[in-house]
């Protein structure tokens, strides 16, 4: 009998281990410890044994039944943990269902990136209207009376407001700098502000020229600011945009509203300064003009240029965005073409 018990036990263990589902396990259970199970049937044979053997065999048999029940319960738990709600052929490689897609215009994104950078340096954000007068577009910015930019061929003048004195002549602003004068007139120095906005030029468009584009001006005016401080400002902007420190150079440039004036170049990010077709083999790319506000501009804003000075940069956002993403046609920005815009989420 002892042998029999042991052989049933080992057979039961094998079947339990092989069981692949709970129902199979249930069958195994009834086959051994159920009412008609083989171990239960053996129990009925105990009375037929010699009396001396009965207690020992009874004990062995009970232990075997307990053991089988225990292993089955262990196995049941194991099967429960392994179980899935889906069939085994479920395909996890099917694509996800995407959340409703929307996005900010890539120039807005760039503008907000820069706003964050400048806010962290304590700059205010200033915004101003698109229509301005010749007085603020040119006069207050030290443009001589016959400067070519004043001609209608460069500026969008408004019908019915395109002649007369400069405070009556109105146009879509050709640049942002006039707005800086407005800010300075209505705030007390020192100044630290940025000024993003759209500007307009009456010109023929192509992949690199647009009639409406975005500028981002930053101006700091205080006592004893030197143009060398401007380098700090420029480095902050570019490292924010490109994520790494970008070598920068300032070279001589001329704009009526600054003195001295600079063209600010950054090292070409495509070739790392070695020279390539993007940078016309010079290793540098012109990114923004800058300089110290011309004494006449500070005067126009009501400041004494002997006391105050500053540093200003004017970033062409379109150009910076084009470099960031490798966009090769500036006209796409105003196209409202979702095939283009959806790429910048």
């Amino acid at each position: 009998m002892k042998d029999k018990i042991e052989s049933i036990l080992s057979e039961a263990k094998t079947r339990i281990a092989a069981a692949a589902s709970e129902s199979e396990l249930q069958n195994v259970k009834s086959a051994y410890v159920g009412k008609q199970g083989s171990l239960s049937l053996l129990m009925k044979e105990i009375p037929k044994l010699e009396v001396a053997l009965r207690p020992e065999m009874g004990k062995l048999l009970n232990e075997a039944k307990n053991q089988v029940t225990e292993i089955i319960e262990e196995k049941r738990l194991e099967l429960k943990l392994k179980a899935s709600e889906v069939s085994p052929d479920f395909d996890c490689s099917v694509p996800g269902i995407l959340p409703e897609g929307g996005g900010l215009h890539p120039i807005t994104q760039m503008c907000y990136d820069l706003n964050d950078a400048f806010r962290s340096m304590g700059f205010e954000i200033f915004q101003e209207d698109d229509i301005t007068s010749e007085l603020y577009a040119f006069d207050k910015l030290n443009f001589p009376p016959n400067h070519p930019a004043r001609e209608s061929m460069d500026t969008y003048w408004l019908e019915g407001h395109d002649s007369g004195s400069t405070n009556e002549k109105l146009c879509l602003r050709p640049h942002l700098t006039g707005g800086s004068v407005r800010y300075m007139q209505t705030h007390k120095p020192p100044y630290r502000f940025v000024y993003p906005g759209r500007v307009y030029r009456n010109e023929t468009t192509d992949a690199h020229h647009e009639r409406a584009f975005f500028q981002y001006e930053a101006l700091i005016v205080d006592k004893d600011i030197t143009f060398t401080s401007g380098k700090v400002m420029i480095n902050s902007i570019l490292s924010k945009v490109f994520g790494t420190d970008v070598p920068v150079r300032m070279r001589s440039g001329f704009f009526p509203f600054v003195e001295p004036g600079f063209e600010i170049d950054m090292q070409c990010q495509v070739c790392g300064g070695k020279g390539c077709s993007v940078c016309k083999h010079v290793g540098w790319i012109e990114v923004m003009p800058g300089g110290s506000p011309h004494p006449n501009v500070l005067r126009a804003a009501g400041l004494d240029p002997d006391e105050y000075t500053g540093f200003y940069v004017n970033i062409g956002l379109d150009r910076l965005v084009m470099m960031r993403y490798g966009v090769d046609d500036v006209r796409l920005f105003h196209s409202a073409d979702l095939r283009f815009l959806k790429q910048f989420r």
Partner: protein
């Protein structure tokens, strides 16, 4: 502007081992942007002078010849050529295999290869001038004319670049980078700048000493517009070709050689930056007077255009009338003709803005006017005169000067500026020694006297026409010559006055981020001008809409008073590719009214506001769904962007909206925007084919950000609340707003109803005509206890009863 390095070297001794890359870099950093440094000889690689030994007919082609050409190698080469002027003994330009040429002077350059032409082997190519880019230097008189180099006495095989003096370097300078530097518009000016940069000796141009007694005179009637005029009358000249070197340099600078008399004037202009002009003296009646034109006076220009002048034009005249437009272009009457034997040379100075106005008035900007309009200094006439006379005498040894007159009526004052050295050091952010400062300025031609802290600076004449006028200009000169690279970045220090708190700025950003990120809409940018088609379709009136005087196109003259026309245009553009999309734009709109300025009382600006507009386009015909989506975006906007909320009601239908599906948007009693379905007719006028479009537009200036977040905490319900849906039949025109009022208004239907929300409405099958079924979800609960199901049902019944009583609602029977 293109500059020849060998020409520059006439005036400044640049060391032979000077690294040209460095020269270009230094000029770029300190003075002007050098866009390109071109080794000219590279254009003529693999090109040599060949001598034609034999010309034979081509066996298979009438128009081709088979030439035997000596190109300086052991054996002559056989070259097939279609030239019409091939002669034995002729020197020609031969492009050997590997050379780059343009076929017939057109298209992209192609590489020459050994080839067979109509069955005959041909080594390279005998070239026409325009095939090797020399069409302007050696203009061909007829088609298929081969460049005849017989005048160049060089042996066969001489590299073409050597033979034609093309071993030169061209510096291309960005004109925009030197608009403020009239002194740089010539080879001498750049040479002077290079001399200053590297402290190199500059060649002086010795003034011309006139030695002639005659009654020749010129008269200046307007010293303001013509500060100086030198006339030189000469005989013994004729029209002939100028020497090759002069032609070569004129060509390198980007102009065309014409004839010796014209070439001298152009050459001198390219050298000094001072335009000069030569008149045929026999066509000048009496003497030259420089004066303003009379109203309506006529002048026929060199280019045959007849101008009707106005008194703002300055003209060169003789006793019969105008002969030239001063500083812009000569006239036809006095122009150099083949018969010209006597000339009057004009070396003059004209005031910049006058020249500019005249050139613009007649749309005639010339090499001369573009230089004068930068403000050339009158002292430069001396150099221009000296160089002119040098070349006239070289080219015409028989020449006699028969008259000379120098009217310098408006003498240039050199600019004088006092600069405090302490101020200079402060502004530079670096203290330079007085010696360094003085040296740098003197290299640039300034006269410098230092007395204690004061530095008295006198600008050179060529920088005194407005370029240098204040101490900041002097600072810039010192800084750029010292080298901007040599100044280290210094941190700026400034006071901290408190955190930046700009709620208005933040609100706009929050709204845009809400629309883009939470509502899944795409931001777009459009132009401020609107297409007439969309103005007519959407706005339907142009009253109060501003226009541009010179619009980008005739049908784009109105600038927006609403964002919706351009958004509709954007819908049309995107309809081809997308069937279900929503877009928004935030931009300024303009109105022809309320002229004022918050910044300046003398200024009058029109009303300008920032608007936020949106379009929801869908091909699904379920307009209710589209309407509710758009309304939902507006309803949650105040909550998510932390601004004061708004309400909706119908007061005034927007012209573009469907007759029923529209709402005005209010903040308090003030209307701040509209929303609605684009009317079918408007949609068709816009050219929208299949999409239904919901629009909204908000006046962003009327949106008020909350001072801080205001949503208050509510205690979590202590006892469970239950959602209980009821469906009832209402008259089809009963508004949800009224149902809500009945359930949740001041006299609540049941105190246990915490909230009522709209689930859906249904018309159609099983619903009687004129009725609709509305499903309403009631949230029922109590603060005191857990409600029994009887209590919940009783509350719902109270609601249904009240809806029945007040609005005639019936329980849906099945």
């Amino acid at each position: 502007m293109k500059l020849s390095l060998s020409w520059i070297k006439d005036y400044v001794k640049i060391p032979e081992d000077m690294d040209l890359k460095k020269l270009a870099y230094d000029l770029t950093m300190s003075t002007v942007e050098v866009e390109d440094v071109e080794y000219l000889a590279k254009r003529f690689e693999k090109m040599v002078v060949g001598v034609i030994e034999k010309v034979e007919p081509h066996p298979n082609a009438d128009k081709l010849r088979v030439c035997t050409v000596d190109i300086g190698e052991d054996e002559c080469k056989q070259i097939v050529c279609g030239g019409i002027n091939l002669q034995e003994g002729m020197r020609v330009a031969v492009s050997c295999p590997g050379a780059m040429v343009r076929w017939h002077g057109e298209g992209e350059p192609v590489m020459i290869k050994n080839s067979k032409l109509r069955g005959v082997e041909s080594y390279g190519m005998i070239c026409a001038s325009d095939e090797i880019g020399l069409g302007d230097l050696f203009p061909a008189e007829q088609e298929a004319e081969i460049l005849d180099l017989s005048a160049f006495d060089v042996p066969a095989g001489t590299p073409l670049a050597d033979a034609l003096d093309m071993n030169d370097v061209l510096l291309e300078i960005d004109n925009k980078s030197m608009t403020n530097r009239p002194d740089l518009w010539g080879h001498y000016g750049i040479a002077r700048e290079i001399a200053a940069l590297y402290d190199l000796p500059l060649v002086e141009i010795k003034p011309y000493q006139a030695d002639v007694k005659s009654d020749f005179k010129v008269e200046i009637a307007d010293p303001e517009r013509c500060p100086r005029y030198i006339g030189v009358e000469m005989s013994g000249v004729e029209v002939k070709s100028s020497p090759y070197q002069m032609q070569n340099r004129i060509w390198k600078a980007g102009m065309r050689p014409i004839n010796a008399l014209v070439d001298i004037t152009n050459y001198v202009m390219l050298a000094t930056g001072n335009p000069t002009h030569a008149f045929d003296a026999d066509n000048i009646t009496d003497h030259i007077v420089v004066r303003r034109a009379a109203e309506g006076e006529k002048l026929v220009l060199l280019n045959e255009h007849e101008l009707t002048l106005c008194p703002d034009d300055l003209v060169i005249t003789d006793s019969e009338g105008p002969v030239a437009l001063a500083g812009v272009m000569g006239g036809a009457k006095d122009s150099i003709l083949p018969k010209t034997k006597r000339v009057i040379l004009e070396v003059a100075n004209f005031e910049s803005t006058g020249v500019r106005r005249t050139a613009l008035r007649y749309d005639n900007r010339t090499e001369a006017s573009s230089r004068y309009e930068k403000a050339v200094d009158p002292e430069r006439c001396d150099q221009a005169l000296a160089l002119s006379m040098q070349y006239f005498q070289e080219l015409y040894p028989e020449l006699t000067v028969t008259g000379f007159c120098d009217q310098y009526v408006n003498k240039l004052e050199r600019a004088q500026i006092d600069v405090s050295l302490t101020w200079l050091a402060k502004r530079l952010g670096k203290s330079l020694s007085n010696e360094v400062i003085q040296k740098k300025l003197e290299l640039l031609g300034f006269t410098v006297q230092i007395d204690g802290d004061n530095m008295h600076v006198i600008a050179p004449t060529w920088r005194s026409t407005g370029d240098i006028s204040i101490k900041d200009d002097v600072m810039e000169e010192v800084a750029r010559l010292y080298g901007y690279d040599n100044f280290e970045a210094t941190a700026f220090t400034t006071s901290f006055t408190g955190a930046i708190n700009q709620k208005d700025q933040d609100l706009i950003r929050h709204i845009k981020e809400y629309l883009a990120i939470r509502c899944g809409m795409q931001e777009v940018y459009t132009y401020p001008w609107m297409n007439d088609v969309f103005v007519n379709a959407v706005l339907q009136s142009t009253e109060g809409v501003l226009r541009l005087s010179t619009p980008p196109a005739p049908d784009l003259s109105y600038i927006r008073s609403s964002l919706l026309p351009n958004l509709c245009e954007a819908v049309v553009k995107n309809e081809r590719y997308f069937h279900d999309f929503s877009i928004f734009e935030e931009a300024e709109v303009f109105f022809d009214r309320n002229y004022t300025s918050p910044y300046d009382e003398t200024e009058s600006l029109p009303e300008q506001k920032r608007h936020i507009g949106a379009a929801f386009a869908s091909s699904v015909k379920d307009v209710t769904r589209l309407f509710r989506e758009a309304k939902g975006v507006l309803e949650s906007m105040p909550r998510y962007t932390h601004m004061e909320g708004f309400t909706f009601r119908k007061e005034e239908k927007p012209v573009w909206a469907d007759s029923i599906v529209w709402l005005n948007i209010f903040r308090g009693e003030e209307k701040i925007g509209d929303m609605g379905l684009l009317a079918k007719k408007v949609s068709m006028d816009c050219g929208i084919k299949n999409l239904s479009v919901m629009l909204f537009e908000l006046d962003a200036t009327k949106l008020v950000p909350l001072k801080s977040r205001t949503n208050k905490f509510t205690h979590l319900a202590e006892y469970p609340e239950t959602d209980y849906d009821i469906s009832m039949l209402f008259d089809s025109n009963t508004a949800w707003a009224d149902m809500y009022e009945v359930i949740m208004g001041a006299k609540k239907a049941s105190a246990l109803v915490k909230e009522a929300s709209f689930v859906d409405e249904y018309r159609g099958k099983q619903i009687p005509d004129g009725k609709k079924s509305v499903t309403i979800r009631l949230t029922i609960g109590s603060a005191e206890k857990t409600l029994t199901s009887e209590e919940i049902e009783s509350a719902a019944n109270q609601v249904m009863k009240k809806l029945g009583k007040k609005l005639g609602a019936e329980l849906r029977t099945q």
